[in-house]
Amino acid sequence: MSAHKMHVDSYERNWMIFSAVLLVVFATAVSVAAFGMGIQVPAPEQRVDPRTVATDPNSPWSNPGLREIAPGKYDAYILARAVPLWEYLPKELTVPAGSSVTFYVTSPDVQHGFKIQDTNANFMVLPGQVSKLTVKFDKAGTYNFICTEFCGAGHGIMYGAITVTP
């Protein structure tokens, strides 16, 4: 194509090779965590109508809360809302240590966030979508869950708590 070849200094070539290897190592580490240890990001779960999701009697979010689906296994349906007040429904949950809880969170109004402190549960909550991740609570204690996306004037006071009993 061209008579001119690209000239690359040997130090710089080695640096580029090293950078590429480093990035491959990071990508591998991330893949091991994702596909080997099951530390995954949310996947599309289901779509809902934000206008009715909190009121339709057939919607689990019309009666948000904890459901035990098997011994030590729970589903938690949580509604994150800005109207009339910035809050999660329910605001408090209690499970025994060792429980595995799958969170299903949605919003009837604006975008919110959902981050449970000291766990890997941290995701966006969008009207029309359901966000789902699972957390296994091994240690007793109180885990706050807080809103991490701007959702209006009361964004900074929006939180709830999970109590893990021994």
């Binding site: 995954q40 981050k115 995701f123 029309g128 900074g156």
Partner: protein, 549 residues
């Protein structure tokens, strides 16, 4: 030395961009320290009530004016200069560029009115279904379209140059600027579609609802390349100007610099899902693919680090620097433009580290929307970019106005103060994020803040106070320079570093546009196409608007 003469009218035109940019930074940055104080529990908003209703109205002003207006205006001014000066020819059609500029100005004013009236407190990401007044969306559209029009003017100027210089290599500063503008033209299609097909008709009452997930997908199509639109102009200066300023150094590798710019063009758009790792409506497989491409776009920044530092080392050794690190002290730290950009570059190392962590797929679960994120981007856009632009302005403003830089010592100290303030501010924000503190919350008032965060929150306030001092110093220097009675003796020499290898000997494929453009578009189609089609096919315009601020 004789250098190409940019006409007085063009200097004025470029200068108008810089003026608007600095005015935006002046107002926008004012809120930064106030926000930082709020974290530390020092509340000033009570006193601002007559003008600014809330932390979030202020935060919207801060984000929009700093991240969108200051950057875009400075960049369009600087790139216009680079194209004219690099190609050594006037703008082909100055009227077209003027039209673009004034569209941008009108856009800023149109968006400012609802923001100041508290009718658009939606932050600079304006995620629906938060619903702003329609004028906000019209204003943003005008800013983007105005920047397109200016870009077209620059492309036309380049096309003419190319016709007359068929076999020459595009001079680097012009080359880098044109790639940056092309990148911008491609990537802004995302927000353009978001606003024109959803947000604007919705805010005008023509459609009932929007699809928040699709809106985010459109937004981040633009949102990530946006950061390269900010960064690449600083890279141009680091590659091709700073080595010269720092001690008459040469650009270590002209061809790798060009290759880096092409990789940025190709890779910076098709990876927007790395801002949506924790979105519910995007399949993990696509998120993962975008994360790999994000690792890919880290690579040209690693190349940049090498070439830029090596060019600086070359400068320092020419000035007599010995030993492994001895050359660093020999760089021209007495020049405020050099000091600002070197300090900006140093903090960019840490910005890069944080960015790589954010980008690492599931690692984002630890960091997403925590205080780590603003900690990170105050090292990148608010320092690597902003402090570099400040450094550029220290020679560019005297060059454009013919007035001497007022008190270079102040300018130099200003850069150091920014550096120190930012280290304190950003370090504490990063740590708070790792402890779980959310972003976009005035943490001094939040009910869930544990005592162990307090010392860090105090440091956020302290860093903000130091940054405030630096910001005031910068504005003082700029104001006094623009009104300085003392004029420069002869026109300021534009710092352009030569390349170590003659660019004419670099491969021709580094100066061909078509293959890179096709490659860029093809990659976008491959890694964005399927999800865009799916999300659009399943669009649900079910979210009505909310004003909850």
């Amino acid at each position: 030395m004789n250098q190409y003469q940019v006409s007085a009218a063009e200097k004025k035109f470029i200068g108008s961009h810089i003026l608007v940019a600095i005015l935006a930074l002046a107002v926008g940055s004012l809120f930064g320290p106030l926000q930082a104080f709020e974290h530390a529990g020092w509340d000033f908003y009570t006193y601002l009530k007559p003008w600014i209703k809330s932390y979030y109205q202020g935060l919207t002003v801060h984000g929009v004016l700093n991240a969108l207006v200051w950057t875009t205006f400075f960049i369009m001014g600087f790139l216009t200069f680079n194209v004219i000066f690099g190609l050594k020819r006037p703008l082909k059609n100055p009227t077209l560029n003027k039209v673009g500029f004034w569209m941008m100005v009108v856009g800023v004013l149109a968006a400012a009115i609802p923001i100041l009236a508290n009718q658009a407190t939606v932050l600079f990401t304006f995620y629906p279904p938060l619903k702003a007044n329609w004028a906000f969306y019209v204003g943003l559209t005008l800013v983007v379209v105005g920047s397109w029009v200016e870009g077209w003017g620059l492309f036309m100027t380049y096309a003419d140059w190319r016709k007359e210089n068929k076999s020459e290599r595009t001079p680097f500063v012009a080359f880098g600027s044109l790639v940056t503008i092309l990148l911008w033209q491609i990537c802004t299609l995302g927000v353009a579609v978001e606003i024109l097909t959803m947000l604007l008709p919705w805010s005008l009452g023509l459609i009932e609802g929007v699809d928040p997930q699709l809106a985010r997908t459109y937004f981040w199509f633009t949102g990530h390349p946006l950061v390269y639109f900010w960064l690449l102009p600083a890279y141009i200066s680091w590659y091709a100007m700073l080595p010269k300023q720092a001690g008459n150094g040469k650009m270590f590798s002209d061809s790798l610099a060009r290759l880096a710019f092409w990789i940025f063009l190709v890779l910076s758009t098709p990876l927007g899902f790395h801002h949506q790792y924790v979105d519910p409506g995007v399949p993990p497989a696509w998120k993962f693919i975008h994360s790999l491409l994000t690792f890919g776009v880290f690579f040209p920044s690693m190349m940049t680090a090498f070439t830029v530092i090596a060019s600086l080392e070359h400068a320092g050794r020419k000035q007599g620097g010995k030993g492994i690190f001895g050359w660093i002290g020999k760089l021209k730290w007495s020049d405020p433009s050099v000091t600002s950009q070197l300090l900006a570059g140093i903090l960019f190392f840490f910005g890069g580290i944080g960015g790589l962590a954010n980008a690492s797929y599931n690692v984002n679960l630890v960091l997403h929307n925590t205080a780590f994120i603003p900690g990170h981007f105050h090292l990148t856009v608010a320092t690597a970019v902003t402090l570099s632009f400040i450094g550029i302005s220290y020679w560019l403003v005297p060059y454009l106005t013919g007035r001497k830089l007022w008190q270079p010592a102040w300018a130099r100290i200003q850069a150091w103060v920014w550096f120190v303030g930012m280290i304190i501010f950003s370090n504490s924000m990063h740590v708070l994020g790792l402890l779980g503190a959310p972003r976009r919350v005035p943490l001094g008032l939040a009910p869930y803040v544990p005592a162990e965060w307090n010392s860090r929150l105090f440091q956020v306030g302290l860093g903000g106070a130091i940054l405030f001092v630096s910001g005031i110093m910068y504005l003082a220097v700029m104001y006094k320079t623009a009104t300085n009675k003392e004029r420069v003796e002869s026109e300021v020499i534009v710092p352009i570093a030569e390349a170590m290898q003659d660019p004419a000997k670099s491969p021709v494929w580094l100066d061909r546009w078509a293959p890179w453009i096709y490659g860029t578009l093809a990659l976008i189609v491959i890694v964005y196409g399927p999800q865009l089609v799916e999300q659009i096919a399943n669009i649900a315009l079910t979210s009505p608007g909310f004003r909850v601020w």
